[in-house]
Symmetry: C2
Subunit: 414 residues, 2 copies
């Protein structure tokens, strides 16, 4: 189907999706979940084509692994949808209510965006996840997945749409852009007349391409150059496990730590422990000169290292004279994602919490907690690293806008 | 000064502005207000240059009038700043607070955006207004005003900056881009590294140029193709004054009505009254065929009329069979600004409130109330017509973002 036709259909259907009752949405989510499980073979067959294409195109093992679907992964997708059905419906909630002196009664009410566009390059399960969250929040969605997973995405979308039809819901509530050439993706970013919000999910390169080219309002997600600052008043029994967790629990995610910042007064005591821990986890350390006095085996860190999201078994180390220098360093190099301080000093912690410019600022905890599930939102469409609209983990509420309803009895402006 | 240097200074100063106490900000706002009044002659002298340039460039009378500053207008600018000083400071307010089962204490706190860019083409008083609102909400601001008012804007910014210096506040909290060529404005829209949010204020053309070219997140403001729908159950004693008010109280503003939608069952009774009212106010009526059966003198309305923000003594008229058709028509042609229904039927009103897709939806009141002051926000930077972040009138709160502060005692993710 032509891109414009897809967009037109989404715009047409959005008022229908918006009007669906919570009950109807939940029932549909469960039906879709059941259908995904029931049609596992159909999905796996399509997925095999992508997998075989990946193999013959020399896709590397990690990517192949993420691409591959099996019964367990499809069951997990279905379970995700069932969980979304359990979540509170944000639509229609009154956020504020006030009466003006002239008698006008104003209420601020949560409403869907309308049409959300999601551009992603990651695993095919995103197709089901993105449908679940956008649908439950009353939005129509247009999905543009990576070309490597196109057959899987078509199959999953087909199953979702068929199940919606069974529920007497217009299947255009979820549409997939099947064209795989880049020109279409760029054209999609310009469909401002039809699409209310665009959310890119994936690599820094994808996100910056969307920001460059989109005329639709964008929510940037995902890039995380996260720091752990070990203050002079740190409890080292907390510092070491937090750093190991933040750096190595999952290296390829946006809330993983990429850099250690350390107070000069504690470096002699702390860095040997840190060095040993990183060595045990096979993490390469790239450190400034002051840190290398202790970390004798470390590679020298250059300017570029401090600005880098490695997503790998590498960590940079920067030595600072005080918390102010730590904050300046972090505010210079971070991506506005997640930053942590390890300290027992309340004043220092407060200063760090106030002055570090990021979506999530931590005291004595791992940056890995920046996540919709860990925050208790019950779901997550991504982590926003911009300041407009939503910041940090985005759940259902963050996929909504609001409107003002004003009731009068003939008021005119004087 | 080079644009990049202006942006760099704004980014550097933003952490200072963010840390200012409410008291310090309020004191500074009042000092600036006093300085504007005290240096009235200095400002008027600069304004005269713009006025004379306007005259010799053949600027039309309405524009010249809006450009011109006198003692009274400067006093009004100062009074605006004093009012902003009275408003509650949104910064630091806790929006949510929750504790997770693992003991992490999460608080969601209101913070400034950081650096706001404002591109405007309107009157020079916007310079002082925009400073007041962005400063009180803890932001640094970079202003890019219209070239027609450049001398006035330089004078006003000079007065503001001098007064800030007197208060020991870094004057770079407010900076003006003095270059008047368009290439610089376009370059400014790409300064994503330094500027957090861009707010264009002005014509539809200006706004769409910003949306096209900006890589910085934009809040779209201002275009309003507003409708009044007169339902079959309307009280005509309310309908007529509301339409006169919405259409003619101020024709050049975004919340003025541009189109009447009328139910076929009431048109025979209502349109003669409407026609007479419009005639008395010298408003040209452009109507569809059904309406012209009654409004015999009306010009035929074409497709383009329904999509047009006239900002003039012109109104279009569309006849519909029921409220659903009215809603579809409005959702097709509106700009997401303000829409009103006149009806005594609660069910119909409810349907209209729910289904019309706009920032502000009214029952039995004039669309002219879409305004930060009328909503009781005490201030207004503009009316957002997008769904991301803020929708409708934007006051101080809408010039802020939030961050999560998370306090733990050694938590790591399992």
């Amino acid at each position: 189907m032509e891109l414009v036709e897809i967009c037109r259909r989404a715009k047409d259907v959005k008022y229908e999706v918006q009007k669906l009752s919570t009950q109807a949405k939940n029932k549909a989510l469960i039906s879709v979940a059941d259908a995904l499980v029931k049609r596992t073979d159909f999905i796996i067959e399509a997925n095999r084509k992508d997998y075989d294409n990946g193999l013959s195109n020399g896709m590397h093992q990690g990517m192949l692994d993420r691409l591959k679907l099996d019964g367990k992964r499809i069951e997990a997708m279905a379970e995700g949808l069932r969980q979304v059905a359990e979540l509170e419906d944000p639509i229609g909630t009154e956020i504020e209510h006030f009466v003006r002196p002239n008698g006008l009664e104003i209420s601020k009410v949560r409403v869907p965006f309308g049409v959300i566009g999601i551009i992603y390059e990651s695993r095919p399960n995103v197709t089901a996840d993105a449908f679940g969250l956008t649908f439950k929040s009353g939005n129509a969605v247009i999905l543009k997945g990576g070309s490597d997973a196109i057959n899987s995405n078509i199959a999953i979308t087909t199953v979702i749409r068929d199940a919606l039809k069974e529920e007497n819901i217009n299947p255009d509530a979820v549409q997939l852009i099947e064209a795989t050439d880049r020109a279409v993706t760029t054209q999609f970013m310009q469909m401002k007349e039809y699409v209310d919000v665009l959310i890119p999910r994936g690599s820094a390169r994808l996100i910056s391409a969307v920001v460059e080219n989109s005329t639709i309002p964008v929510i940037e997600t995902g890039t995380g150059n996260c720091h752990i600052y070990v203050d002079k008043d740190a409890d080292l029994d907390k510092a070491i496990p937090i750093i190991i967790n933040a750096k190595t629990q999952r290296i390829g995610v946006c809330n993983a730590a990429e850099s250690l910042v350390v107070h000069k007064d504690i470096k002699d005591k702390f860095l040997p422990l840190f060095g040993a821990a990183m060595k045990e986890k096979n993490v390469e350390v790239r450190a400034d000169a002051a840190a290398r006095e202790i970390l004798t085996g470390a590679v020298p860190a250059n300017e570029e290292d401090f600005g880098k999201e490695y997503l790998d078994y590498i960590i940079s180390v920067k030595t600072v004279s005080d918390v102010s220098e730590a904050i300046s360093h972090i505010n210079k190099y971070n991506t506005g994602h997640s930053e942590a301080i390890i300290t027992e000093n309340e004043e220092t912690a407060k200063k760090f919490l106030n002055e570090v410019d990021a979506a999530c600022v931590y005291v004595n905890a791992s940056t890995r907690f920046t996540d919709g599930f860990e925050f208790g939102f019950g779901a997550e469409i991504g982590i926003s690293t911009q300041k407009l609209h939503a910041r940090g983990p985005m759940g259902l509420k963050e996929l909504t806008s609001y409107k003002y309803r004003i009731v009068g009895n003939g008021q005119i402006r004087g």
